[in-house]
């Protein structure tokens, strides 16, 4: 099978510094713009940090769901690319995604999905540089497990909260 870049994510190692969001938005927007970052850290309770970005499902339900063919899979990286000219902001991709990962850009209202920076993701660089490795890049075969990472952030948060805080974790989200 073909090997592609994938961003490994380990929520329990995330510190919540959100330098990934800074690096992402500087790269894509030329500004620090956390709400336009393709990777977003949800923090529903202190300590419970959830790394939320495209999981690159093997069957691409978002691409399937787009009614105007604004989404396509990049041949080289297998990342989902958004054609911003075509996108109407209809939200079908958000609905179709099992993790509700895509969102509408706070500036122009078009869908936003991680494009892996063409295969060398900026977010990964700053996280690895800091020694956290909450996210890091691997090259490996496309597999069905990837889709399991596409989960709504609050659902993930409930798991992490228990992992961190035991029984108390059941109450905090």
């Amino acid at each position: 099978m073909e090997r592609t870049v994938w961003i490994v994510r380990d929520h329990l190692r995330c510190t919540g510094c959100r330098r990934c969001e800074i690096a992402c938005s500087l790269h894509h927007e030329g500004r620090i713009w956390p709400e336009a970052s393709r990777i977003r850290i949800f923090m529903p309770f202190p300590g419970v940090e959830v790394i939320h970005l495209c999981a690159q499902c093997d069957d691409y339900p978002c691409v399937e769901a787009c009614p105007v063919e604004a989404l396509r899979v990049d041949e080289k990286t297998k990342a989902v690319l958004v054609d911003r000219e075509r996108c109407t902001g209809c939200e079908a991709c958000i609905e179709a995604c099992p993790g509700q990962v895509p969102f509408l850009h706070p500036g122009d209202g078009k869908a936003v999905i991680c494009d892996l920076c063409g295969g060398d993701p900026e977010c990964v660089k700053v996280c690895v540089e800091a020694g956290y490795r909450a996210i890091y890049a691997v090259e490996e075969e496309v597999n069905v497990n990837r889709k399991l990472f596409a989960r709504p952030p609050l659902e993930v948060a409930q798991d992490i909260a228990v992992n961190l805080y035991g029984e108390k974790g059941l109450e905090v989200i």
């Binding site: 919540g16 510094c17 800074i22 709400e35 529903p44 309770f45 202190p46 952030p153 961190l164």
Partner: protein, 620 residues
Amino acid sequence: MPRGYAGKILDVDLIEGRIREVKLPWKTLEDFFGGRGLAAKILWDRLGDHWSEVDPLGPENLLIALTGPLTAFYPGSRVCVSGKSPLSNGVVGSTTSTEFAMELKAAGYDGVIVSGRAEKPVYLLITDEGCDIRDAGHLWGKTGEETIRLLNREVREELQRSRRGPQREPGILYIGPAGENKVRNAAVMTKLFHAAGYGGYGAVMGSKNLKAIAAKGFSPLPEVAAPETVRILWREVHRELIKRDRMRRWGTGYGGYYVAADTSSEPVRNWQEEWHDERRFGGPNFQFRFWVKPYHADFNCTTSCMKISCIKTGRWKGDITDMPDYELEAYLGPNLGIFNPEDVVHLSAVIDNLGHSGINIGNTMAFAAELYQRGILTEEDIGFKLEWGDAEAFDRLAHMIARREGIGDILAEGTYRAALKISEMKGVDALRYAVVAKGIGIGAHGIRSGRDYPAIHSYCCSVQGGDHTSIAYNPIDHMRSELTTILHDSGVYCMFNIYPPGVFDLLWDFFTAVRGWRLDPEEWYSTQARRIIHIQRAALLLGGPDVRWRPWLDDVNPERFYEPLPTGPYRGMAPGKGRVEEEVKRYYQLIGWDERGIPKSEELQRLGLDSVNRKLEEIR
């Protein structure tokens, strides 16, 4: 056009329910930056002409929360909370790390000024669409944990009504029960275990019936003057921070042992000692039993000095707090005669949830325990035995203070005012056991051994009293001087992030690249910082309406600091009164104050602070 700023500030009057957007003149931003400096300026302009009459807990006082030009750009984002302090009656700039700062800027505001008093509990919700005053009846009385959970859920659900997909939670400043009940040293809390602790601004929020301020921004951060330079400096500073391995690994959480064992400067039993060699109170005992997240940080920070602790077993199962950090380790540990890590983690979680300032509540409770030790306060006065080392007793006392029950009502006035009251009640001098400066509990770094904080006038000359992050120091253009802290508190970023070698030098360029005005160190120390410190000093000396500090006579160390250290390798050491007086006088000269510590007339005129000069005539 000023860069790095959102360009407007919210001005909220809770009496009328009126909300205005204020644009500050460039000149004001150029001179006073943001945070602490800008807060001092705003407070002076609005309240300076009748400062002594303003009740810090009355509707006329202002509760100010300001970011600065470097907030969210420079590593370690913070917000600065200020107002007229109910502890010192002066102006304290109290900063805390929080996403609130970044969210506020992303929503398009550099800060919030709140005046008046709401009839019923309210909270403010700030978004890109503006500010809304909301009912907070359901949040009043709630602990930190409950407040965060309820408010996060409420705001998230509201955002989700107009936006598809999961929405992120807001940044929140809030108060716990201590602030609601106007405990004078209550903190403004954020993120469960972060606090703007010095100054007592939790009580100011409580006096306004203001439970919380939540902010969620969807816009980019403001434009900077030189984006590419900022990007390069940002990476460079982070690279240096990342190399600082020990700070990142341990945070300050290993201090509970070494600040006592090594430098003899940790408060033990209300500062009766500053040394201990309790190895069971060492960092590893906290780390391996309680830390569940060994690297935790706030927006744009790689120092990750925060480590999250959780108790997983036993009667205190489910307690969550930070490591605790050194200050709370010391103040809720050895200073209460406690040397058991689990007790300290528990007490730290208790005071976080109640919204006390950890340093100041530890200071006040230890003061009470020493009075109990000396038989000045009795079991009858307190309702139970208050023995050193009894964590359950201090847990109980912390709750009584937060609810102002029994003796808690007196102790809720803070150590200094409680000492005055108890002296009167009991016919003794209780003030000699109060380890405070200008009404503010002294941070957990003693000056007697000379091995930790080298300046013996660190606290007694500070315009923020006992605040261990803002100390008097000679020379005044030193990295540790109060004038340097004013820079950090006015640019509003974390002072922990300027310490690696070389980074302090980059800081000036960082300011210049963000703001677009050249920041010259010489000008800062001779002009800009002086304006800010003189306003703070003037406010402190004008004081009132209850307590007023006497020029010169009250610039002394607490009695305890003149007693020789009784134990440890530095036994016998304590700087004498004569030496302290000399240092104080030298400091006055360096900073531009007269022989009684009042800012000199010609100095104020040079800096264009004519109204401050006129007002100070009252006490010259």
